[in-house]
């Protein structure tokens, strides 16, 4: 290990993290209690008026999973598949997990990245202002907003948005990623429709995360405000705004880079409740369905993507951080 450069060490530990995470996920999935065949059987029993045994027999034919295969063998097949770039077939849908991810990921990226952009930009701006004018009106407002939004579950806020803006005011559509009348592809109608449909999910995503960014920035900025170089800048007679932006803001935002990286990685996991409420076909929607139906391979695939994204984003954050702050070195 001593012969490795810091960058190589980082790559090596990242790979180990990925391996541990996917092994842990594999084991966790198999330890989850519950019998999915039983649930399907009960659903079929109601739908088709069958006896429980009849329904159970039909349900077993649906499942692309043989629980009698020993776990080590299942694990070896899974790892073997991954090494070949194969995420496996969904147990529930019997289509490649990669197909589902490739179809769902763009929608989640679209909505989550817009939400992250808005919440980070506005949150950092508000946090900076709150720290700068601590005795003003904004500071308690930001704190109150952040406490409130952390307390309200995101699905509840999503429902409120739906009722107010889609049901009552009819400004935005009730559901979906685009209008059923448009043809998906590179055409204006589709893009307009997609943006129109994205507004409420974006607002729902933004609502809860914005307060967190504002509070983090406020705390970070307040610690920077007590630094000697800020006092020196003031003593030099520099304008307040210049001190706020160039001296305080620039230094205060650096610690947030890591959080931003994690958030970028985490957004690939989508938001189960928000995507379900708005009928949005993103990763979160499939995550929710896969957990409910114990679709092990799909859950593993989605977890893997999220894990990889977070690790890569963290890795990138470390590099960017070391470039932004010369005091920090990659070790």
């Amino acid at each position: 290990m001593n012969r490795l450069t810091p960058l190589q060490k980082k790559i090596f530990t990242s790979l180990i993290t990925v391996f541990v995470a996917l092994s842990f996920t594999f084991a966790l999935m198999r330890l989850m209690p519950g019998d999915i065949v039983d649930e399907w059987a009960r659903e079929l029993q109601v739908q088709q008026g069958l006896t429980y045994q009849e329904a159970y027999k039909i349900a077993t034919t649906r499942l692309n999973y043989d629980p009698s295969v020993p776990l080590p063998l299942q694990y070896a097949r899974y790892i073997g598949g991954l090494l070949k770039g194969n995420l496996g077939m969904s147990l529930n849908y019997r289509i490649p997990v990669s197909t589902i991810i490739l179809k769902a990921l763009p929608w989640t990226l679209f909505v989550a990245s817009l939400a992250l952009l808005v919440s980070f930009t506005v949150g950092v701006f508000l946090g900076m202002l709150a720290a700068w004018k601590r005795k003003g009106f904004l500071d308690p407002c930001v704190t109150f907003y952040a406490s409130l939004t952390q307390a309200i579950p995101n699905f509840l806020f999503a429902l409120i948005l739906l009722v107010v803006f889609a049901v009552r005011l009819r400004w935005f559509p009730l559901r979906g990623a685009y209008d059923i009348d448009v043809v998906p592809g590179f055409n204006l109608a589709f893009f307009l429709s997609a943006f129109h449909h994205a507004v409420l999910p974006v607002v729902a995503f933004t609502f809860q995360t914005l307060g967190g960014w504002a509070l983090s920035m406020r705390a970070s900025a307040m610690s920077v405000l007590g630094e000697d170089f800020v006092m020196v800048a003031r003593a030099k007679g520099l304008k307040e705004r210049r001190i706020a932006v160039q001296y305080v803001g620039r230094n205060a935002i650096t610690p947030l880079i890591t959080s931003l990286a994690i958030a970028i990685g985490g957004m690939l996991g989508g938001a189960i409740f928000i995507e379900t409420i708005f009928g949005y076909p993103g990763v979160g929607f499939f995550f929710g369905t896969a957990i409910a139906t114990r679709d092990f391979t799909l859950i593993q695939g989605l977890f893997l993507i999220t894990t990889l994204a977070i690790i890569i984003a963290n890795f990138a954050a470390d590099i960017v951080y070391s470039k932004l702050d010369k005091r920090v070195k990659l070790e």
Partner: protein
């Protein structure tokens, strides 16, 4: 200064772009939605979202609710008047020994791709159904096609109503010109399996073990055919139904009227749009917004009234779902194993109050616990018979007397103790559905008020079945008398008292009990016999006996008969909804969409006036 300006400009630009985009989009969407002049019906349904939506009705991912609009059965069954409404079948005739059912098919019917519909398509569907363990094959020996428009079902033994209905209401969704190639390899497998089963029956258990390899081989071959069938993804979903599927997205489905359909002349609806059903709460929002014309979410009274208040054109119909909601007692666990204790619990609960809190629009069940659902009770049990049986009406005084007589006593705080002096602590396990949770909570509160310590535990769907079958509960909320789809008491008693029935397994009901005359009643055997073809007097006798068993031994306590709460909008996009007395509403338990489709094909639903 330039940096500060840059940040400021960037922020403002982002926000302005966002706001301007939203406004432009809002305006564009408003301008784009003009009245096309088409008569559109909007409903709600469920399906797997793309790419999981398959398009092959047999494959996992299937076609979801689209099947109702695209595919049709031979007949539609109306449990209300026990009649069969012709669809792809025109008429039927049963042989005197009930071992042959001949169905004449409608002529001139076409599949959406233009191919004519024939008896071969029926056979193809049923043959592939064999591969998927369709329950009808337990009794079905084979299907014959004497000509292109006649199908003959041959049964292994006289066919009861339950199996006849199963055969007639299955949707015919596999045209032989598309799915015939998968039906072909199944036929020899069917023959092979029939021979194997005959052999097993003839030779007994020891032979079965010797031939185990044969059964395994057959199952392996069946699996291989299934896997090939699942990999087939049709370009278009083909059916004979009144509508063609045009578009499927994550949130919507759109269907266009099939102009060459056999009922096209009567159908006034040009297009069907279906919103995906994520949860009841979202469907309430769709109803309030007037987004859909009909839906049936389980809804508390206050929410239902609010929806109606906000939509003056909306009304409710409440046909029975042919199922009762209530409690299952665990007879394998103290103190629920004590009949006297169960009698006391049944009498201590104000069931009508539970109904009002859990599902206001249900029909109250307050006196007996019969298994047979309340709306069908008079068909099978006379008032004179019922008068002789014990009633469990709400009477806390009586409940107290029962417990005291059985040796139970109260502690200083007023809580009940077992005869051994141990404090009683009960748990009601329930699924997370709002009506289930509210019902369980109301029962629990009433029991606590009566002095029985009780609490509610919400169990996830995937764990519920395991909890029930493992007997790890005191009481659970569940649909009990379940006569959905067929309106047949055979399915009710199979579930409650049958060997391996979902409820009988959960409650640990014994195989035999003492009858009113002291003789042994073999309940498993009777429940099984009820699924056979029986002369009417014998059928009535069994139903009477099993109802007596349920009422006497109380493995369950029904609280209300569930009525579907169907919201329908009259005159916004469509009009002509028949009132609740129309017999077709009685088919809601066979599938709500099927009822809507029937209103369309009968020419009842039209455009707005």
């Amino acid at each position: 200064m330039p940096e500060r300006r840059n940040i400021f400009v960037l922020l403002i630009s982002v926000l302005l772009c966002f706001a301007a985009g939203a406004a432009a989009l809002f305006l564009s969407s408003c301008a784009g939605k003009k009245d096309s002049g088409k008569v559109i019906f909007r409903g709600a349904g469920s399906w797997e979202i793309p790419p999981a939506f398959h398009g092959n009705p047999w494959a996992p991912g299937g076609v979801g609710s689209a099947s109702w609009y695209v595919h049709e059965p031979l007949f539609m069954f109306l449990p209300g008047n026990r009649q069969f409404l012709p669809r792809l079948g025109l008429s039927m005739k049963e042989s005197k020994n009930h071992k042959k059912l001949t169905v004449k098919l409608r002529e001139g019917v076409k599949w959406h791709d233009g191919h004519p519909f024939t008896s071969k398509d029926v056979v193809t569907t049923f043959i592939i159904g064999y591969l998927h363990h369709w329950a009808v094959w337990q009794l079905l020996e084979g299907i014959e096609t004497p000509d292109e428009h006649t199908v003959v079902f041959r049964w292994k033994k006289p066919c009861p109503h339950l199996f006849k209905t199963r055969a007639l209401i299955e949707k015919i969704h596999s045209p032989s010109h598309i799915y015939g190639k998968w039906a072909a390899p199944i036929r020899p497998l069917m023959k092979k399996e029939a021979e194997y089963l005959k052999f097993r029956k003839r030779m007994g258990y020891s032979a079965e073990t010797r031939k185990e390899g044969a059964a395994f081989e057959i199952e392996k071959e069946k699996k291989a055919v299934r896997e090939k069938l699942y990999s087939f993804k049709p370009v278009e979903l083909t059916g004979t139904g009144p509508f063609k599927l045009v578009t499927v997205t994550a949130s919507d489905m759109r269907f266009e009227k099939f102009a060459e359909g056999w009922a096209a002349g009567k159908i006034a609806i040009d297009e069907v749009q279906m919103a995906r059903w994520p949860s009841n709460e979202i469907i309430w929002a769709f109803l309030i917004a007037g987004e859909i014309d009909a839906a049936h979410p389980a809804t508390p009274k206050e929410v239902a009234e609010q929806i109606i208040k906000l939509n003056p054109r909306m009304k409710m119909v409440t046909p029975s779902d042919l199922a009762e909601f209530g409690l299952v007692f665990n007879l394998g666990r103290e103190p629920m194993s004590d009949l006297e204790f169960r009698r006391a619990v049944a009498t201590a609960i104000d069931r009508d109050l539970v109904r009002k809190i859990s599902y206001y629009y249900g029909t109250p069940v307050t006196a007996y616990s019969l298994g047979i659902i309340k709306s069908q009770r008079s068909d099978w049990l006379s008032p004179e018979t019922l008068q002789k049986w014990e009633k469990y009406e709400f009477n806390p005084q009586k409940a107290e007397e029962i417990l005291l007589a059985a040796g139970y006593k109260r502690n200083a705080k007023g809580f009940w103790l077992t005869p051994e002096g141990k404090k009683i602590n009960l748990e009601i396990s329930t699924l997370g559905n709002s009506d289930f949770v509210l019902g369980a909570d109301s029962i629990s509160s009433q029991l606590v008020k009566f002095g029985i310590d009780c609490h509610v535990r919400i169990v996830m769907g995937q764990l519920y079945g395991t909890k029930l079958t493992s007997g790890d509960f005191d009481m659970v909320t569940q649909f009990l008398g379940d006569a959905r789809r067929y309106g047949d008491p055979a399915t009710v008693f199979e579930n409650i008292l049958g060997k391996g029935g979902y409820i009988s397994t959960a409650c640990r009901f014994p195989e035999e009990v003492k009858g009113p005359d002291g003789k042994t009643i073999k309940v498993h055997k009777l429940a099984k016999e009820l699924r056979e073809y029986l002369p009417e007097p014998r059928r009535r006798e069994i139903i009477r006996t099993l109802s007596w068993v349920v009422n006497k031994y109380l493995p369950i306590l029904p609280v209300y008969e569930k009525n579907m709460l169907v919201f329908i909008t009259e005159g916004k996009r469509v009009s002509g909804w028949p009132d609740e007395s129309h017999p077709m509403w009685s088919a809601v338990s066979t599938g709500m969409e099927g009822v809507y489709i029937s209103f369309m094909t009968e020419g009842l639903l039209k455009g707005k006036p």
